[in-house]
Symmetry: C2
Subunit: 338 residues, 2 copies
């Protein structure tokens, strides 16, 4: 009972982790050697890396009494990394994982992490993706880093820089739901008092569900630009605008419709649902542009258009106006500024 | 003066890092989008991940007054990751980097890190390798994680599992030198009192020099097994033995010759030079096996042979005997056990 990682050797701990790691179809050599080997059938490998830090990106115990289990942290690690591959229009092929663990970390937490990581890979729709290797370190706080690889399967990548004036702007996936869930975790509202909408938001904060089929579908449908919304719609739209040298014009009616679904939770917490939609991160939906008139792929909804920089008052506007007049506040997350 | 990372936005900090990152020839899309894209010319990508944690793997200030600069930590991150690719017989193609930074980290430390990482890539002989992307997080201690990719360039990987009874055992690179350098850092001997041998050891601990050309050369020369020595010769030889289901027999005369070069430092510190050779990690030399009679590639020296498990008293022996009789003590590093 209560076995902690400092009571096992590294090889004993690895022996408990390895059998729990999902094995897909694209790994030519899995864990146990100096490196893993992954198939790259079209001669290119897409790669990204993402980190979660204890008490920054997650808490083991939240103010409202919720717990981020190892399973939750593993699920989120998989989700946010798979999303970065999805946002290129690619399909994930493998993950390598680095865990920095305090000595008192329960071995069951690490096992749950491996289970959550593997479960998310399958449940989110990337069963071909293997957990191909990793690294264990000791440290004073939990740090989880995953690097993920993907295959473009012969398609061209969809970059942030391809948006054209006149394009439709569209999103796929949840918008602001994870932010509402985060606010619930940070509140005094215990889970047993949640309404169904609150439980839904809290659940998606703990275990995000990026729309993995949608990235490659958008690429095939001719998306001109794409990224995943990890730092909030306004902030990430600014990145599309900057990379493409265009202005993003958001439709307030669509934003209001998305906010309406969060209104009940916002009222209970005394928060602004529209601000969650505009600045909430970690839903890992997709923000994409498509040529005017093009039928949007399944799951995408239009939320605005791309206009010329010259005609606009800012890189991101709402109904043709500077969004500062519509909603004030932070543009999303910044890891150092508070 | 003394600008710290919490005084910059993430994008401002990235703007200072990006221009310092080495760009090689194998990156099809570099930093700035959701993912990077790397060439995988033979349809396979080798991948590994490695982490350094402050006060575990490095100290900003050591007992003897030495400092691990950002440049040193960046160099070591590159070296240990490049070594994992080298140990497969592959050539590095790209790195993605995750930095977890305390708010008070000087911006110059991060800039120095990027410089050291990039300088090592070029100086160690991997100029084709790009730093293709990364991630920044806040945390209470510095954690540096690098994932590295490589290309086998049409060759088969050299695994840990291929050693055959009768093979020659050979090493390439430094043995125990980094351990001597670590002991100096942990001692009361200040750098100004170092002999040339001590300065050499301390320098290689701070900035290891894995023999990067030797991995692909060994693969071409028909190496039957290979790994990089990151946790000590005895411990890593045990891994070759276990993976290949053989016994590794080390030649004590060769071990003694390697220890002799460290003897002066060992005497000053009251340590055992042979133990550094046998259990010292982080030199990132190569441990390889070659068929009997095969001329060893440049830089490799024979240090023993592969014998049958059935005939042996342990997985790793010295001159045919259990090594416990030759040197006692730990089998190398374990990240949690102390």
């Amino acid at each position: 009972m209560n076995l902690t990682v400092d009571q096992l050797s590294e090889s004993e701990l690895l022996a408990r982790i390895f059998p729990r790691l999902h094995t897909g179809t694209t790994t030519l050599l899995g864990p146990g050697d100096d490196s893993a080997i992954i198939a790259a059938p079209d001669g290119r490998t897409v790669i990204s890396i993402d980190t979660q830090v204890q008490n920054k990106d997650f808490r083991l115990l939240w103010p409202n009494g919720s717990i981020s289990s190892g399973y939750d942290v593993g699920w989120k690690a998989a989700a946010q990394n798979l999303s970065d591959i999805n946002a290129m229009g690619a399909v994930a092929t493998a993950m390598v994982v680095s865990l920095t663990l305090p000595r008192t970390t329960p071995v069951t937490w690490v096992e749950d992490f491996a289970d959550g990581l593997s479960a998310a890979i399958v449940a989110l729709g990337a069963p071909q993706c293997s957990v191909a290797g990793g690294d264990l370190s000791g440290g004073s706080e939990l740090v989880v880093t995953v690097a993920v690889t993907g295959s473009l399967e012969g398609l061209e990548p969809v970059l942030r820089s391809g948006a054209q004036v006149g394009d439709q702007l569209a999103v796929c996936g949840n918008m602001g739901v994870s932010a509402a869930g985060w606010a619930l975790h940070e509140s005094s509202v215990v889970a047993s008092d949640f309404t169904p909408a609150m439980a839904h938001a809290a659940g998606l904060f703990a275990r995000p569900v990026p729309p993995l089929a949608a990235g490659p579908a958008a690429a095939r449908a001719g998306a001109t630009s794409m990224m995943d919304i990890s730092d909030g719609l306004l902030r990430d739209a600014t990145r599309i605008a900057a990379a493409s040298k265009v202005c993003v014009d958001l439709d307030s009616a669509m934003l209001a419709a998305m906010a309406a679904e969060l209104e009940e939770t916002a009222v209970v917490l005394g928060k602004n649902a529209l601000q969650w939609v505009l600045t909430g991160g970690e839903d890992h939906g997709l923000l994409s542009t498509f040529p005017a008139g093009r039928t949007l792929p399944e799951g995408f909804i239009g939320i605005g258009s791309i206009v010329s920089m010259e005609a606009a008052v800012a890189a991101v506007i709402i109904d043709g106006q500077n969004f500062e007049g519509v909603v004030s506040g932070a543009l999303g997350w910044d890891h150092f500024a508070v």
